[in-house]
Symmetry: C2
Subunit: 641 residues, 2 copies
């Protein structure tokens, strides 16, 4: 078969592929990551690339303008390779972006170096002695003599017991094999790494001399759309850095269902597993390099994420998650070596995957409850995790009930024309003047805008609605305006013009985008609404609403209420907790008490299946307006007079 060389810029990565291969496939093989939401079906229009040189064959599409076509732009997924090629990937089609590390406003969420408490809120009081997933302990062993002939291994066990009061742990043959020489070369001064494996303590590593100051871990929130990770100094309980990237699995579908379907294709599961493992390894590699951490000193990882993400991370077939009666393979996973999941840290380092509740309430919900302390509250509280798979937990110290809403990735900046994550260059705050409809915005990092993140969309929708530029159903005004324009696909609103944008194109919100965002907010609002009603309560009974999600640091509760994303409660009842799943994972990395607590939470949460609730569809349909069809539910909402 004829093969061609394809080179991708600006990566400057080349690969040889067979004739008739799609550009998207070639990019995946080359390790070049192109945005794709529809799993290569040519419908999302996110995988635009520019063919600089060479011959391609493109399927017809309505997603490209004539101007774009003339420039050589094509959709990577439906364009096949028929000669050697040079391809440029424009910024908006790239899958990786770094979270800004310098921005002052990221402090507390995505900062460079952040002091943290093992468990926030009510849990903190309960945390006993500091006991992370993996701990290093420096030991000076008494040398053996004719009166003290304990074997090398039991000598270490004895010293651990004397120092820490931990009974005889288990260990692997690899450690035992190197022990005799290591102990004597090190003159009986060693550092042991102890790890938690269920009820037992494992002696994971034995190193010569005192290396106890070099012990690091990672916590991860594996989201359907976004993967966030933090490098944590386990010795000093300090977060050294945070990174987030888009989940490369997006190339195989934007939601968990399409990925489960893809997993059933030949080597589909393997590809999905590799995609997520690569993301995790990329974050680990970048943060370790930046903070000069040797990967051999990374000894433990805690991961959270929804149940499908946990299955794919571990290469467990997720098929039965979407087949009645919707049973996952495992909610409680054993502690294992990170290497078993293809994660590259110390080969003997441990991986703990937090416990989930059911097929659609995952470990991310458990971790969220843990980190915001919902299970300790006396009053009725609510946790809303606004993600691709929105998870809602309602309860207090007496009970916990959870539901899941498939919101889609719009609020994470995916599946919308100019969406992006809350990272450098994202428009996160928007104000539209009522008289001349002038748009004022601010971006993360005060850079030229590259796109719009979730909080920016919430502001934009609320401002367009209150200023009359958008009606309750989401249609843009037909009044002539400098900001509202029309092309072949419909009307759109220009947030920032091409001259001021970093991508040299208008940054816009289309009516299709508004539709996407509306569905997302409706899914979340109606889930919350049904769940509260299911337990016989009213919104007003909820004393505190924890809002979690990848919104950077900024979220305007008033605007979120006004578009009907959040129930109409006073702003004082809302608490924005950032990525609560990641915070929970970090708590578990730092404390075995937190792990125990999280497992109790997972066992305690009752799963409430929305789809079988007769009212759910009605409620959802009623919420497909801004803010709602029934305005008595939003008494504080006022349209422009």
């Amino acid at each position: 078969m004829e093969t061609f060389k394809v080179t991708f810029y600006p990566d400057n990565k080349s690969i040889r592929v067979n004739n008739d291969t799609s550009i998207l496939s070639a990019a995946i093989s080359a390790g070049v990551h192109i945005n794709s939401v529809c799993a290569g079906e040519g419908v999302c229009g996110r995988c635009k690339v520019i063919v600089k040189k060479g011959k391609v064959l493109a399927q017809p599409t309505g997603m490209l303008s004539v101007e774009e076509k003339n420039k050589g732009v094509c959709l990577a997924c439906i364009t096949t390779i028929h000669s050697d090629l040079e391809i440029e990937i424009p910024p908006q089609s790239r899958l990786e972006e770094k979270i800004s590390q310098q921005d002052e406003r990221f402090k507390g969420l995505y900062s460079e170096s952040e002091e943290i408490e093992p468990v926030k809120g009510p849990q903190a009081k309960e945390t006993k002695a500091y006991s992370p997933l993996t701990a290093k302990l420096y030991l000076e062993l008494p040398k053996p003599d004719l009166k003290d002939r304990l074997s090398d291994l039991e000598r270490i066990y004895r010293q651990i017991s004397r120092t820490k009061g931990i009974p005889c742990p288990q260990t692997g043959l690899a450690n035992i094999r190197q022990l005799g020489e290591l102990l004597r070369d090190a003159d009986w001064k060693i550092t042991v790494t102890l790890g938690k494996r269920e009820a037992q303590t494992e002696l994971i590593l034995i190193e010569p001399q005192d290396t106890s100051s070099k012990n690091f871990g990672f916590c991860f929130d594996i989201g359907t759309t976004t993967i966030s990770g933090q490098l944590v100094d386990l010795k000093n309980k300090k977060v050294l850095g945070t990174r987030a990237i888009y989940n490369r699995q997006a190339a195989f579908g934007s939601d968990v269902i399409s990925r489960i379907i893809y997993a059933q294709e030949e080597s589909g599961l393997e590809k999905l597993h590799l995609a997520v493992a690569e993301c995790v390894n990329q974050i680990i590699h970048e943060l370790a390099q930046e903070h000069k951490v040797d990967l051999n000193n990374v000894t433990g990882i805690v991961c959270t994420g929804n149940t499908t993400m946990m299955h794919l991370l571990l290469s467990i077939d997720p098929t039965y998650i979407r087949r009645e009666p919707y049973v996952p393979v495992a909610n409680f996973l054993p502690v294992m070596r990170a290497a078993e999941a293809g994660i590259k840290i110390n080969p003997r380092g441990l991986l703990y995957c937090a416990s989930g509740v059911s097929s659609y309430i995952g470990a991310d919900a458990t971790a969220g409850v843990l980190s915001c302390g919902l299970d300790k509250e006396k009053d009725l509280c609510l946790l809303i995790d606004i993600g691709t798979n929105g998870e809602i937990v309602l309860g207090n110290r007496d009970f916990l009930i959870a539901a899941s809403a498939s919101a889609g990735p719009a609020f994470e900046g995916s599946g919308v024309t100019c969406g992006m994550r809350a990272s450098r260059g994202a428009i996160q705050k928007i104000k539209i003047s009522r008289r001349v409809f002038q748009v004022a915005y601010s971006t993360i990092g005060q850079e030229k805008p590259r796109g719009i993140c979730g909080s920016g969309y919430i502001d934009a929708l609320a401002q367009m609605l209150s200023s009359g530029l958008m009606d309750k159903s989401g249609k843009l005004s037909e009044k002539e305006s400098a900001n509202i324009r029309q092309n072949a696909y419909g009307r759109y609103f220009v947030v920032a013009g091409k001259k001021e944008s970093a991508i040299k194109e208008d940054i816009i919100i289309t009516e299709a985008d508004i539709e996407n965002l509306k569905r997302a907010k409706a899914a979340i609002y109606s889930a919350v609404s049904i769940l509260v009603r299911h337990i016989g309560m009213k919104f007003d009974d909820i004393k505190k609403v924890f809002i979690s999600g990848g919104f950077g640091t900024y979220l305007d509760f008033g605007n979120a209420v006004n578009i009907g994303l959040l129930p109409d409660l006073d702003s004082s009842r809302f608490v924005f907790v950032g990525n609560s799943s990641l915070a929970g994972a970090r708590a578990m990395l730092l404390s075995d008490e937190a792990i125990k607590k999280a497992e109790e939470i997972a066992a305690k949460i009752t799963y409430f299946e929305l789809s079988v609730e007769p009212d759910y569809m009605d409620e959802y349909m009623a919420a497909l307006f801004f803010p709602h069809t029934d305005l008595t539910k939003f008494p504080s909402f006022k349209l422009k007079p």
Copy 2:
């Protein structure tokens, strides 16, 4: 470099080796096992081979007769290869021999199929519910439905808990990965294999349908000279078969010290490890084949052996065992996968290595005490394990003290001219008529004699002594006799002439052999003597003496006392227990109570170092006579009047 093809017969195995390679090295590489006791130093004369064709270069040796040299016989270790060769290995130089399986007299020790109790003697009463190292359990799981949505893994855990009351066990990712499909394909009918890993229960395997009747294990006694193994049906608590072969490590030295030294050579440890792993795998393979057992249904192994053997089995550097203060790397070893030690059973099958006491009191002693129930006795008892490394344990339910004596392999039939193990064709019983010195003997399996095993040597020495053919110092009579002859190397006694022997040579006992046997018996007797005196007791205070060793089923206590191997006590106090180490290993394979008990025993035994005892050398020297210099210690001994 020039290479040559060497073919070994009767194996008909060929290998290409470099010019100047020794025949012994070539044989090891070809997987042909030649006897060698002196680790290739040309001094033991055990590795005789016949060069049928080709050119070799042999170092001078006094170990070969002119007749042998004319026949092309040479010592494999000091003869190098200088052309293509054809080599025949005569029966007496072969390392592998099968234990007779048919012999009636083997019943209870090396029988084909033998009913066994998990723990013999006093222990048996304590054994609670049957709980082997690895157990299979058939489960019919309730199918999940919308009301019972427990995940697949927790569904299994729940059923195990309901059936057996065992709390949530741990399991490996490999099992979890296959679970979803396996459960549904098997219509929720599965067999789980549960294994003991310290305090926890591991879910080792999950198989579709009911395979609970197919669960097998092996127990092994890894001796310095002999490796014995048994295939056990774990479902039916039945021994299916027993095999013993010489330890192939013998090619690298006959005792533990020479092997520890060899382990320090380049890839020495690896070679020693491979040698023992090959032996274990050979026994496993042969017994499994014979009893039509699929190796995937072999799920557990328990090994005992002295501390050096345990180190080498697991490829742990034994260097520090022989360096002051004589500390092993580990006495208590974690349960691991057998595959980690290179043992070929089910890849997820478990290996438990029994716990030892110190560098020179190994897991074999612990297992021996367990199987004969010494630790439960009210009265003072003694266990003498007559092996290459003789181990002696003295005590009762209140205390246990042990010493080790380096006896050498003579009583195992190694290092003596016509010695062999207690297997088919071995002369095991000898009587010499007092008047005409006529020799009557019987062999194992009633076959033509191939050599003499330990019990045969004990009989021969006792009979030669009482008939006056041998004096107290071990010199053979100078009287002319049909049985006593002389060659260039000294006098020797003919037990069976070449016409009646299976090897077409005289089966003889030389004065050098007698010297070897004398040193072995002196080492054991003096160790027992010093140990008993050390605790302020006399032989007469010992109520029961358990004798353990590879003697087949026959051991004449009277003769053993008369040559001064055993103390002069009434025969009624002696109990022959066969291979007590193997019996202990079997008990541990069949019962976790026995494992717990053995670990308690290992922790309880006090090690007594003979070599630092000032009287030990005197006692040993005094015992270098038959039966002893001080005949008051052997009042029942009478020389021929």
